[in-house]
Symmetry: D2
Subunit: 498 residues, 4 copies
Amino acid sequence: MKTAEQYIESIRELNATVYLFGKKVKSVPDDPILRPSLDAVARTYQMTTRPEYEDLMTDTSHLTGEKISRFTHVPMSVDDLVKKVRMVRLLASRIATCFQRCGGLDGMITMYHTTYEVDQQFGTQYHQRFRKWLEYMQKEDLFPTAGVMDPKGDRSLRPADQADKDLYLRVVEERQDGVVVCGAKAHQTGLTNAHELLVIPCRAMREHEKEYAIAFAVPSNTKGVTHIVGRQSCDTRRLESCRMDWGNVRYACVEGLTVFDHVFVPWDRVFLHGETQAPVRAMEIFGGTHRITSGGGCVVGSYDVWIGAAALVAEYNGLKNVEHIKHTISKMILDQQAIMGCAMDAAWEGAKAPSGGYLNNMLMGNVTKYLSSQTGFEMLKYLNEPAGGLPLTMPSEEDLRSKEIGQYVEKYLKGKAEVPTEYRMRIMRLIENMSVGNNHRLGELHGAGSPQTQIRYAYETCNLEYLKHLAKVAAGIEEEEELSLSPKKNGRLSKVSK
Amino acid sequence: MKTAEQYIESIRELNATVYLFGKKVKSVPDDPILRPSLDAVARTYQMTTRPEYEDLMTDTSHLTGEKISRFTHVPMSVDDLVKKVRMVRLLASRIATCFQRCGGLDGMITMYHTTYEVDQQFGTQYHQRFRKWLEYMQKEDLFPTAGVMDPKGDRSLRPADQADKDLYLRVVEERQDGVVVCGAKAHQTGLTNAHELLVIPCRAMREHEKEYAIAFAVPSNTKGVTHIVGRQSCDTRRLESCRMDWGNVRYACVEGLTVFDHVFVPWDRVFLHGETQAPVRAMEIFGGTHRITSGGGCVVGSYDVWIGAAALVAEYNGLKNVEHIKHTISKMILDQQAIMGCAMDAAWEGAKAPSGGYLNNMLMGNVTKYLSSQTGFEMLKYLNEPAGGLPLTMPSEEDLRSKEIGQYVEKYLKGKAEVPTEYRMRIMRLIENMSVGNNHRLGELHGAGSPQTQIRYAYETCNLEYLKHLAKVAAGIEEEEELSLSPKKNGRLSKVSK
Amino acid sequence: MKTAEQYIESIRELNATVYLFGKKVKSVPDDPILRPSLDAVARTYQMTTRPEYEDLMTDTSHLTGEKISRFTHVPMSVDDLVKKVRMVRLLASRIATCFQRCGGLDGMITMYHTTYEVDQQFGTQYHQRFRKWLEYMQKEDLFPTAGVMDPKGDRSLRPADQADKDLYLRVVEERQDGVVVCGAKAHQTGLTNAHELLVIPCRAMREHEKEYAIAFAVPSNTKGVTHIVGRQSCDTRRLESCRMDWGNVRYACVEGLTVFDHVFVPWDRVFLHGETQAPVRAMEIFGGTHRITSGGGCVVGSYDVWIGAAALVAEYNGLKNVEHIKHTISKMILDQQAIMGCAMDAAWEGAKAPSGGYLNNMLMGNVTKYLSSQTGFEMLKYLNEPAGGLPLTMPSEEDLRSKEIGQYVEKYLKGKAEVPTEYRMRIMRLIENMSVGNNHRLGELHGAGSPQTQIRYAYETCNLEYLKHLAKVAAGIEEEEELSLSPKKNGRLSKVSK
Amino acid sequence: MKTAEQYIESIRELNATVYLFGKKVKSVPDDPILRPSLDAVARTYQMTTRPEYEDLMTDTSHLTGEKISRFTHVPMSVDDLVKKVRMVRLLASRIATCFQRCGGLDGMITMYHTTYEVDQQFGTQYHQRFRKWLEYMQKEDLFPTAGVMDPKGDRSLRPADQADKDLYLRVVEERQDGVVVCGAKAHQTGLTNAHELLVIPCRAMREHEKEYAIAFAVPSNTKGVTHIVGRQSCDTRRLESCRMDWGNVRYACVEGLTVFDHVFVPWDRVFLHGETQAPVRAMEIFGGTHRITSGGGCVVGSYDVWIGAAALVAEYNGLKNVEHIKHTISKMILDQQAIMGCAMDAAWEGAKAPSGGYLNNMLMGNVTKYLSSQTGFEMLKYLNEPAGGLPLTMPSEEDLRSKEIGQYVEKYLKGKAEVPTEYRMRIMRLIENMSVGNNHRLGELHGAGSPQTQIRYAYETCNLEYLKHLAKVAAGIEEEEELSLSPKKNGRLSKVSK
């Protein structure tokens, strides 16, 4: 497995085409705005090599029997599913921002299962190809991004009805040795830090939209691929030398748009091609899986830092023993743990899928994400209650260091007498960073799927006929027919099979 | 194991002292107000004997190796904990009201562990006694209530400081053959339907309050024990012959006050006696355990019926495909499943306790109950949204049956043309029953512990030092000390041990 | 103006056809279940004659110049609108349940304006007729119910498409001297206590639905009119002699279904007849007006009692100075006052309508009701937090009075030593009454219009074009065009006129 | 009155001591980071001179009878209070960020009343002094900041107990011609754009804390005064030439810390000096008054832009007619209007104070702010729902303008075909700006007082005795004593006077 240093070098060597503020980036590791985001990923590589995290961060490949990073491992048991959630929480609590790797992992899991099931249905050979690519990823310990979201243009129109056909990524040419694709993938987390791009279609396609039913992987430096880094709140603070103002003094995340301009994909890297029924299943798997990492363990790990910050700032402000502040912190813990409970239960209730791999409970995956997306806004309030207004109006680190006015800042930003002013300022800045700065969690709203997708999933998968039967029995409308309509074995009610 | 009929006869024979509306009840099974509540318990006995529920509703006693009801089984594995939650959900969804037995079960689990741990600490012999009693309960398939809540009088005063010392149950005399107790237990669920009373102290005691640190079991017809049935919304509808107006046409629940007026308890039924440190641990176990049955699986099973009723009434009203009604039902499902997720995770993360039995994760138990107590009020709104106002203003079944005006009721309470008016009325009545009638869930607020207890538990058990350390590291205040302060193995953070 | 006694006698004399539990009621004032509801209305008559309430409860008729009850007064100024809200709050806080008269008042206001506007548009003569009837109502000091809600049958179908055409009230015959109508009105508040029925259509009609566009008034004892009293939670407790268990020891409310079976209406009491455009305007006025009485002042007055009960039970329980209980009570006050603020502002921003009468701000009327319908569920939680579980499990008054067990009840339901047990029981029972008993406020959800109607009203009346313009200006998409799109004079933005 | 240009020149001439990033600012109007904030204030001056806003933005001085800006006008009628709220809303909706002037206005109102009342109580002469200064402010059309919040240091300690006595601003020397003060004021909105500093103490003082009971005004360029500009999210984007990335392309706000290092204040500018009872009343007035401007009208005006942006982005995304998106926008309107209702009612219920000026209803002021602080987090969710993830991951304007990749951005950020890509990007950037950028509204949480202050105010001013009486009457515990405890005339219940 790669060390952190090897990982950084590998990204340097990759030298993918990256644009930032309209200019080509010479070297991702040497760009001051991009480096903290690369360091966040590097930290995951570093922790993978540390013996104390071995159990959570590594596993044995079911393909090769070799020890691999859990970030390239397809879960083969409930225990694997559980450890995945715990790993993600651990990393989020240590890095205190998005570490960017869960999307790629969940994308690989998605395609592992989807290719298997598609092969079963259509007699295709995608699964074998995919395993080969996966084995390569495991061996080289590589990090892929999952390219899922198309730009989508006018959302009231289907892919084939868009004014510009490329607004959903598609095959524009079929060649003997592979296909040529055009389009883009939006909201690409970690796009400057990945070795590979794993592209998966994001919605149901109709028969006449075969060209859009395409999945594949290419190295992120492939010809025709351009990465355009998105702006973030406070992104340019990373150009400043005063790290206190970064809030999170080491790490950041990065997202953006990846464009595919006539990119060639050889056949052995094509994992779907025209199977229009497949994307719906792929999205069910990706959504249900990703919603307990990105929307589950990761959120919980971040909230470890939030709760710590809230408790710390209360202490620094002299509010430690104030009843309503303790109440606020308690609610943060209860809200956080409810998300953890759902994410973990999704894992505990995982089951073997046709491919032989394990998938977590899909409904609970959706429940987890829905809960975390709704809770986040209340949590933002809680985080700021003990802090007071300083995260929003506090002078800069340069003011603190200033010969002329540093004394004023030192004097008037003092909280509890025994706490250095600088400590209090740092924690305020971290709270700013997590509230409205680079690491705010507003992305939780749509990340891993907008709330509406979870609302719909819950409705569509619920066995309403069975529940209506229960109500009818209680009200005396129907007699009990216990045997014919019993819930599924796992205690979760699901759609009646026809 | 007892059949439903045997159970009912056993209660008749028991002939405990029960008062209802100031008068002594001659026979619980023959009292029209009390019978539906007895039937709810009888239904649990009936389902225990049905082969299709064998897996959930029975288990093998670790004391005798015999097959027993899960309602007398102390969980000996994670699987047992999981099945307990599922059993409770199953019953709540079928009976559509409180089936009254989870408190007694959780009380037995509590005392199984507490007696063991107290013996370890103090060299006492309670555990052996308790096992003997438990074996008897298993063999005879008996149902105990857990007498936990004292009347408490003035809540700003400790037990020993109350104007009337009996406001917390206590030992008033110690005899050679046992103790004599005075006091009462409030909010006794199922008090008229139980064979035994298992009394457990409900709060921390101080050294001078030894007389209050008393736990024991007595048959519910013991001399000096009086059960006073509490009033409930719509309780006297059960005197009416028109069952439609009951809402739930078969079952009800019952609660009340059990008074102990110089009740003698022989030594072999005394399970704590003066160990003032024990009640806190007992309450931690009882709370954490009961909060995933009463506040977890049971709530979820009830919501099965709620969701079914909401979907059904929407259909009967012609609102089935209305977008905002589907949205409401979706939210009911998501809220319900979040509670299930937490309850199940509490079970999945259960662990072996010193006694050898298994306890679910205590923090998640508290999280589950807190979530369900907060969610309930929103759920009440959701349930009534598709129903409209009829659950609150609808004529009686007698109006429907009336020769003079029945035709009007039939004509004007018609919903969708193909649905009989009576069906629509029945589901409206069920919704009334679950909203403000006999089976409303307002009791969820304080049942199994007021929200404030969960808020406090979360704060007190959280490893805030560790979380503050994480925030300090992110903000650059401290260097990482990964090894010294790592979270517990199970991924939940808990109090730093000293 | 009528005294309370005169009012009660007038209802006795009226002797309308009332059914309760399938049987004809001989005399409303002598029926034990119906009497407390009649007394609630009688109390409003009594307070009208008391000098200390003269300013709020009476006014000068703009028709006759005579002093009249505000319950028959059409507001002719902002001050009148403001006093209407305050009167309603006062009554709700004193009677502690629905006093039933605001619907009729708002119905009269609605038809006063609607008839005027319809006459202007169609050259009809309804307004003069209506004024004559209104003058009669003022002179005789009569109480009408507003018959608004039709049974509606299948809600996915329009009136004319229902299987049974009578599911919306309609004209079935036109005669020389008047019309004959069939149908019913549902959720009729105070139906057994009213002198007159004022019938108003409840939804938009199409050209072919002329027969449904009918408004009129008839005495409530008119031939062919049958009132069927709806069931309520705990309704039959009023048959019990122990008044403590009523919760509210004096008053109750009543609702039900009023059936019109070929009822003849003479022309001088017909206020709309075939003007299919009129009902939409009538519903806008009725909704916007009623939502600040029923959904505004009345809710606020009830919450006066709720907050008082919460504070009192906290005191009786010894919880008066507990921080989180004070927090709960504070939130009740803040939520209550926000509703009052919106209701009052709706009144303050009232304006003269074409008829010369004043209407409150319609948007704020909707905002008020929406807020109160959403707040109610949280308030229910708050009310019960300081109470604990006793409102749900407490023995009956008969238990307290029992010679055999009264001593137990007296002893163990004691709270703070200096508070008589009976007082504590009474307040618990009142909380039960307001939570799940006869006076629960669940009816707030759909009463005066379901939340969805307010949601739609807000969307449809908002000047979104203007607001989009503001956003475009801020984002640099458009230049400011201040003059062409300025908000309306009253500072509320409303739909752009074409 | 000053034109916008005159205002800007006056600030240039003032040349106060301002630090930004540790360096002295040469000229506020010429500083690229500070200028947009100055422009926001200048816009208020410009609108004051426009005839179409004359009614809202100007009034007649009750001191001089001359036409003045409403920003220097003490309300002398309910109409004035109402116009103040409407003016603030108007400006917030046009400037789309904090325009910084309401604090100063509310500070002047506060001291107008406080000085009068203190004079009455203590026979001092502050009011005359204050009127003279106010007349000067009106004549010169000057903008003062209100310096209210002290740094406070350790919040568990009183002013006099802090390790550093200056952590609350205080008099350090009393001279014949005036006083010398040391200390600082935090969270100073508009600190670089104000002509004067109006300093008011922020909390209750005890007898031995006389030195802290000091109020005064000094020009903002007074010797010893240093303004240190606070950091804000995305503050340095204003250094970039691409204005689209500013989000709000014209305006910003500014806050920071103002330090008083031995600042001399002549007697004629001292408005309180040692009257330790006065600050509590000043804070009641300032809180209650400011909470309907900063926390009322301003929030509502901002939400005009939010709602417009949400509706616009829905349209650009092709989501205009999607049911759940319309639902979201409806809720934004309802939430916004509830805040407006409370703020307006606070104004409508204003009353003449002893000084002859008018104060809005204080309780409703607190209710308004509490509501807006709680609503804000839900609004943040609503704003982002129709936007999708682009506000957080969208490329920069420089990417759009880039010769190399501009075509990609143009192509793939296209939404609805007829909407230019740039328009869609602009609205996304505005949403970013209002969510996590320079104009986010997180400051609403603590601005104008933390929620806890409103919670406490509600509890302390509520006439709980009267409400408990109402509950006792309903429950039959007490007879009605209507006259002795009647609510205040204005329909709001307030503290029983002794």
